[in-house]
Amino acid sequence: MMTDWMSLKWLLWISLYLILGVFVPWAASLAWADQHGKVLRPRPKQLFERGELGLISLVVGISVIWDLLQSQYMPQTRALGSVLLALSGTMAAAVWIESYCRDATGMPNNPERAWRDSRNLAFLVFSMAVVIEILLDRFAKVAAT
């Protein structure tokens, strides 16, 4: 079993998104409640129940597409990876759009379903981002030798 611990730098990279995209908004909502003297203890599920996680995952997807386009992979590979990431990121963001449209037009909206859909699609985009960053890291080492 060979492990290059420098290859685990994607953990730091992905945790930056988790901290800035999920933890900071949650902490900011607690700080706001404290500042205004209100009782508010939202869980991440309540904070992102309209599918906002989809927007965060779209941002992650865009940054990985950018990295992929800068790489030395062949054009076919870059195109395939970018299209797949863009599709999954767009579908994740579409959960928030559907939830917003349902609320805005007075159609029945199920926050439980929007939360589940956006959470699973965000999980997909994050995991794809992790794998592609690992593969990019490997390719950069191969191309450098």
């Binding site: 079993m1 060979m2 492990t3 290059d4 290859s7 685990l8 992979y73 062949m74 054009p75 076919q76 590979t77 395939l80 990876g81 797949l84 599709l87 999954s88 579908m91 379903r113 589940r116 859909d117 959470r119 699973n120 699609l121 999980f123 997909l124 994050f126 995991s127 794809m128 992790v130 794998v131 592609i132 690992i134 593969l135 490997r138 390719f139 191969v142 191309a143 030798t145």
Partner: protein, 179 residues
């Protein structure tokens, strides 16, 4: 008031399976994590196994078989959970699209390998190996995600069309006579 006629009453029909993209997304995400784990902890042996499969010419078939199996299992699981009836549309989508996607990725990989070998680049063997590895991953992801995405979009199209369809005269007459 007359009693309801049991012979004329329809038996409650099972609804058809409505696929949510989130179900497929969770499965693909788990598969991605397994792939990431193997890449990090077995970087040499895992890559060599995949490259050997490609050299023996059965990588594409393996990708098709794995994605077909996962798609079918996922769909049956959703149908069982919702206690709903599978549809022909789903069978056509999930039966054909993984094969089409597998073939497409295979063509793409052949193109990428040919492009790499034709260039004057250092470490050609290593580059080809990495191309095979990334295409294997993208083939697995697209073979599961794209059929479910197509199915979801077709279901939405079908639902939108049935919502827009004007009411038939016989249905209108039946509604009027019920008042």
């Amino acid at each position: 008031m007359s009693a309801p006629a049991p012979a004329l009453a329809k038996a409650p029909s099972r609804t058809t399976v409505t696929v949510r993209l989130a179900d497929a997304a969770f499965t693909v995400a788990c598969l991605s994590l397994v792939f990431a784990f193997l890449l990090v902890f077995f970087p040499v042996s895992f890559a060599r196994i995949i490259q050997d499969r490609w050299l023996h010419g059965n990588l594409t078939v393996a990708i098709m078989a794995i994605t077909l199996l996962i798609d079918a299992g996922l769909y049956v699981r959703i149908a069982y959970r919702l206690a709903a009836k599978p549809t022909v549309l789903a069978a056509v989508c999930l039966g054909s699209l993984p094969i089409v996607v597998g073939l497409g990725v295979s063509f793409c990989l052949q193109g990428a390998v040919g492009y790499t070998l034709s260039g004057d680049l250092p470490n050609l063997q290593g580059r080809v190996g990495e191309e095979i590895l990334v295409h294997t991953y993208l083939g697995l992801v697209s073979g599961i995600f794209l059929p479910f995405l197509a199915l979801r979009l077709l279901q939405q199209l079908k639902a939108a069309r049935s919502n827009r369809e004007p009411e038939s005269p016989s249905r209108k007459a039946a509604a009027a006579s019920s008042y």
